[in-house]
Amino acid sequence: MIVIDKVTLEQGDFELNAVDFQLGKGEYGVLMGRSGCGKTTILEAVCGLRHVTSGRILLGDLEVTDLPPAERGVGYVPQDRALFPSMIVREQLAFALVLRKLPQDEISERINELAELLGIKDLLDRDPGKLSGGEAQRVALGRALAHRPSVLCLDEPLSALDEELHEEMCGLIERVHQETGVTILHVTHSPSEAKRLAGCHFLMVDGKVERMEG
């Protein structure tokens, strides 16, 4: 569950005032809006990467407004994916688990599970620089899911993909959603993409988020 309660954000000249919206547990939320309207800023606030001036953010039963990003239990896939250049795919997937000091066999088990789910078994020993756009997207998803977050934040996950891959990735994200039951907040500027994806749709206009029915 994501609750954003009268959140106010400031970032230079840009300001979002008293943003309100709610997404139920296990729901797939698509947040739409024009470029530069503040969608990504909201996503970053959920992840704890932006300081909130006032208001509250709740993830599940937990108020996370003042928690560091590490303790929020979120998975974040930025628009540029930001795969760590110094690590092979396997290390990227293991990153969150190693930080949590899980035993080695549990880590490998989880990596195999993720690789199976995302179809990246053959890529585990590759350098991130040698991945195609779709492959990199899968790895970024896997990295964000590794520590079983309650909320997955996707920032324009499909924008850099060609049409064919686009369809494939939509299918994959939906499967991930079904199999893991994670709450997903998906930000996009494209209405057609939003239409393609099931779930609750939100539209952001003039700093307000409205739930779209139907």
Partner: protein
């Protein structure tokens, strides 16, 4: 006409632009290469003979009718001839010698041939010094020569052609007078009756000299210390300046550039004055001691390292840290696990830059650490002291050592960098 002009608009040729780029860039590269090459070529790597006093009185007038300037020489003796501005060569019997260097006199006279008559002669003709007596007493060898040899104490001499072990090789001259010089041999060396002397090239002279050995050592150690300190400071400052916004940041930014903009000499002086206010126990240990060398190098080199690290961190998107934070990193963990591995190349570049900068630092060291031999003498100081003593060749030799050191560090850094890229 089947082919029509595609458009009426035509763009000018790119050639002049590209050639211009090539010529401007190329000429600079050429100067760099030629400069290095000139250093390497200029140094005389061969040994020089030990020669006596000058036989040609400079400025001597040449009789218009004479063939040249006759000089009396000793038959059978070697002479060193060096052309001046007005000589085409030197004539002995029927042979004409035009090359600089040693030749053996056949008769009692040689004639210097001027290229223009009625102009002063500026050539040089000097006899090679012969050894008249070799004595050894408690491993101390004393050689008598038949002419003043002009060698000075503390320089090195090469002995060849001796028939006893321990004699041949390079020796440091421990004592001299006009026609006598001494050096020591390993214990229990047997006397020899014959030997030849020559002066080894300036590079050997420099590498053998204890002063310069000390200065090489001090340079290598101080530069390495400076580099480590610089990186230690540059990494946090660079990261801070790259990632955080705070009040007074532009002011601090300017402050960080001061050592780059300020003349290095002024930095040395400022340090010297600053340490006048320091407690005695501290300034006694720093000023005009080796720590002053490191501090002077550090003040300048660190500024360059900071710049480099700042640019390095600026080029690493903040996104990486943000993702790492959501995955469970603290800021410290994100820095060490995600950012530093990506900053390796920049770290290497900053280190190399700081090292090279420190190696060449002279002005602030001169002012703040002094130029005491065996104490605060680094390689640039050595070069300066050689120049002061009028030994251009010695200075060049020291410069070559510096070039070699810089090249070595550069190659090592590049190789490490390459590994990182190709691994």
């Amino acid at each position: 006409m089947s082919e029509k002009k595609a458009t009426a608009f035509q763009v000018g040729s790119d050639k002049p632009f590209l050639i211009g780029l090539g010529v401007l860039g190329g000429s600079y590269l050429l100067i760099i290469l030629l400069m290095l090459l000139a250093d390497l070529v200029f140094l005389d790597y061969g040994d020089k003979p030990v020669v006596g006093p000058e036989l040609v009185k400079h400025g001597k007038y040449v009789d218009e009718n004479a063939e040249g300037v006759p000089i009396a020489v000793e038959p059978g003796r070697n002479y060193q001839f060096r052309k001046g501005e007005n000589e085409s060569g030197l004539k002995q019997d029927d042979r004409t010698i035009t090359k600089n260097g040693l030749f053996e006199a056949r008769s009692g006279k040689v004639v210097l041939i001027p290229s223009q008559k009625n102009k002063p002669i500026t050539a040089s003709l000097r006899p090679e010094v012969r050894i008249t007596n070799i004595s050894i007493e408690k491993d101390l060898v004393t050689l008598q020569t038949d002419a003043p040899h002009g060698l000075i104490w503390g320089t090195f001499i090469r002995v060849t052609g001796a028939d006893q072990s321990g004699w041949n090789g390079v020796h440091e001259i421990t004592d001299t007078s006009a026609q006598q010089l001494s050096f020591t041999l390993p214990p229990d060396s047997k006397p020899t009756n014959q030997l030849n002397l020559s002066i080894p090239n300036p590079l050997i002279q420099a590498l053998r000299s204890e002063d310069i050995q000390f200065s090489i050592k001090l340079s290598l150690i101080s530069c390495t210390l400076t580099t480590l300190f610089s990186l230690w400071v540059a990494v946090p400052i660079g990261y801070l300046m790259s990632r955080f916004e705070f009040r007074g940041k532009p002011f601090i930014d300017t402050l960080l550039d001061i050592p780059i903009v300020l003349p290095p000499l002024v930095i040395g002086l400022s340090l010297l004055i600053l340490f006048r206010y320091a407690p005695d126990w501290l300034s006694e240990r720093v000023v005009y001691q080796w720590p002053a060398v490191v501090l002077a190098q550090f003040m300048v080199a660190c500024a360059f390292a900071v710049r480099t690290m700042r640019v390095t961190f600026d080029q690493i998107p903040q996104r990486f840290e943000q993702v790492a934070l959501t995955l469970g990193c603290s800021r410290r963990q994100a820095f060490w696990k995600v950012i530093m591995p990506q900053a390796k190349g920049g770290l290497l570049a900053a280190g190399t830059l700081a090292w090279a900068r420190a190696l060449g630092e002279f002005g602030p060291i001169l002012v703040f650490a002094g130029t005491t031999r065996q104490k605060t003498e680094v390689l640039p100081t050595s070069a300066y002291l050689e120049l002061q003593a009028g030994r251009t060749e010695g200075m060049l030799a020291v410069s070559l050592i510096m070039i070699a050191a810089a090249a070595l560090v550069f190659i090592v850094a590049r190789t490490l960098g390459m590994k990182r890229i190709f691994a």
